[in-house]
Amino acid sequence: MNTSALIMMVTTEVIISAITFYYFWKVLKTPAKKEPDSYSENDEVKKS
């Protein structure tokens, strides 16, 4: 693999991976909003 391709690939992939994991971490760290929210499919089913 030539040097320019390697530099281009590594730089791009490191930046994209870093930003992806940053937003992934943000999603995990963000506290859930008060119910009812817009995502009813995530709600726990109430036991009768």
Binding site: M1, N2, S4, A5, L6, M8, M9, T12, E13, I16, S17, I19, T20, Y23, F24, K26, V27, T30, K33, D37, S38, Y39, E41
Partner: protein
């Protein structure tokens, strides 16, 4: 939403677009398009969708209608329904290949074949030497329609929470095997890194070629589901107090990670490793989306019979899963339109969607070898997305206005949206998107005039080849008429819905 965004485009379409557009010549425009068009348009479409949802609109004609008083916007919104129907028409066929390749992996139909024979197996398959492709396609279409009609898309999304990480993990394993592939090992003729060099070596001499930029923008929009109307539909159910900004960014970047980091490192290195650059470029000239089906089974066969079955089932099965989450998302805006505007029940709306996709998709199955599949992909999967994205960003930034638009993007946001995007959305994205579109117009015009096919006819000497090309010309023209007819049909339905709304005193702009 990430389940919807991650689909067959990441693993099957991206490598083909990259190869067709010169590898290293494609990657720079592609990355620029992602940053300056894809990301801003994700913010814009999520904001538009949530804004339209406040008025009870869930499909683009009336989401756009709610944003300005002028009456014509609803007809621009027709693209948001048309694209879903037209892309689903060929996407379901692509999806059915994955299902079929699971079956063929189990049946050991690739065992003992050379790399050329495995590639030839796909050629025979799409040439309809048996009824099998049609059966798998119908099965796939029925499954999609049934899931939509029963309202089970949520269940599929829940299953995607397991399926998607598995796909990513298996993709990472395949990427590792592809990158470390050596010439002579497992019958490979080139090292896997040769394919990576082809993709990643920057080529600045063709960087301003409009055709490459159109393809790059089309791929970004296709992969992010931007310019399709499905994001607006999804966002229209989000409440004002809830976040859209982090949703947009997490889904968009996750999709990009899968495409650039994994999607680029599987099919291209493996295909080039086994077939060489020239042959791979030749193979993608027509029916390019089949590249992964022509090469990966051969690689799996080199790992022994047990692993060949396990990998074939796992890989193509997970791809099917990624595909179906996306095709279900294509049905949702169409059904939302029929339910909102004509009071149809979900069941009826789903079966109507399935029926239209069946009729529109049939030519892509029957006349695949005449370029109908590629024709749909060009007009619906590239040009239509770029046109709709261009018009909607002008509407959002300049007609609806950035003050209201920015408020809509940041309302309830769980992240601080960088303020630079306010200016990118207003100035940079419309300008660059406008340039891509207008600079591509001569190429689009040549496509309409069938310049390429005409050249091939002139150059051909074999009467059989000339006849084949003339038949191709006929089918290509008919397929375009079909696509235009569908667009006009949807526009007429929007007109009827508008009149119905006025009669009933329901809100329009």
């Amino acid at each position: 939403m990430a389940g919807n965004a991650v689909g067959l485009g990441n693993f099957l379409r991206f490598p083909v677009q990259a190869i067709q557009n010169g590898g290293g010549a494609f990657i720079i425009p592609y990355l620029v398009c992602f940053l300056l068009m894809g990301i801003p348009l994700l913010y814009v479409e999520w904001a538009m969708g949530r804004f339209g949802g406040k008025f009870g609109h869930h499909s683009t004609p009336f989401v756009l209608d709610a944003m300005d008083k002028r009456k014509f916007w609803k007809y621009i919104g027709v693209f948001g329904i048309f694209t879903n129907v037209a892309v689903a028409a060929y996407y379901c066929y692509l999806e059915s290949w994955t299902l079929s390749w699971v079956w063929h992996s189990v049946a050991r139909d690739f065992a003992g074949k050379t790399s050329d024979e495995v590639a030839g197996f796909f050629g025979n398959y799409i040439s309809l030497t048996s009824y099998e492709p049609i059966i798998f396609w119908i099965l796939c279409l029925l499954l999609n329609t049934w899931i939509l009609s029963k309202g089970l898309s949520g269940g599929v999304e829940k299953a995607a929470k397991i399926g998607m990480p598995l796909l990513i993990l298996f993709g990472a394993f395949l990427a590792y095997k592809a990158i470390t592939l050596q010439a002579g090992e497992h019958n490979a003729v080139n090292p896997g890194t040769l394919g990576l060099s082809f993709l990643w070596t920057p080529q600045f001499n063709t960087i301003f070629e409009p055709k490459v930029w159109l393809a790059a923008a089309g791929q970004i929009f296709f992969t992010l589901s931007v310019g399709m109307g499905s994001i607006q539909c999804y966002a229209s159910y989000v409440k004002s107090k809830d976040d859209i900004a982090l949703n947009a960014m997490s889904a968009g970047w996750m999709n990009e990670f899968v495409e650039v980091v994994l999607g680029s490192a599987i099919i291209i290195p493996i295909s080039v490793g086994y077939l060489g650059i020239d042959k791979v470029v030749e193979m993608t000239k027509s029916g390019g989306l089949g590249l992964g089906f022509k090469t990966l089974p051969y690689l799996f066969e080199q790992w022994g019979s047990v692993l060949a079955v396990v990998c074939g089932v796992f890989w193509f099965g997970l791809l099917f899963f990624a595909g179906i989450t996306s095709s279900l998302a294509m049905g949702t805006p169409v059904m939302a339109f029929l339910e909102d505007e004509f009071g149809w029940k979900r069941n009826n709306a789903a079966w109507m969607f399935g029926f239209v996709v069946l009729i529109l998709g049939l030519p892509t199955v029957l006349f695949f070898n005449y370029g109908v599949f590629d024709e749909y992909d060009y007009w619906a999967g590239t040009v239509s997305l770029v046109v709709f994205a261009l018009v909607e960003i002008i509407l959002f930034a300049w007609v609806f206005g950035m003050d209201k638009g920015w408020k809509e993007i940041t309302e309830g946001a769980d992240i601080k949206v960088p303020v630079i995007f306010r200016y990118i959305i207003k100035f940079v994205t419309p300008l660059i998107l406008g340039w891509v579109f207008f600079a591509s117009l001569p190429g689009i015009w040549d496509k309409i005039k069938n310049v390429d096919i005409d050249k091939q006819i002139l150059a051909a000497t074999d009467p059989a080849v000339i006849e084949q090309l003339q038949t191709q010309l006929l089918y290509v023209n008919i397929s375009r008429i079909g696509l235009v007819a569908i667009w006009l049909g949807i526009a007429y339905l929007v007109f009827v819905a508008y009149k119905k709304r006025i009669k009933e005193g329901r809100f329009t702009s």
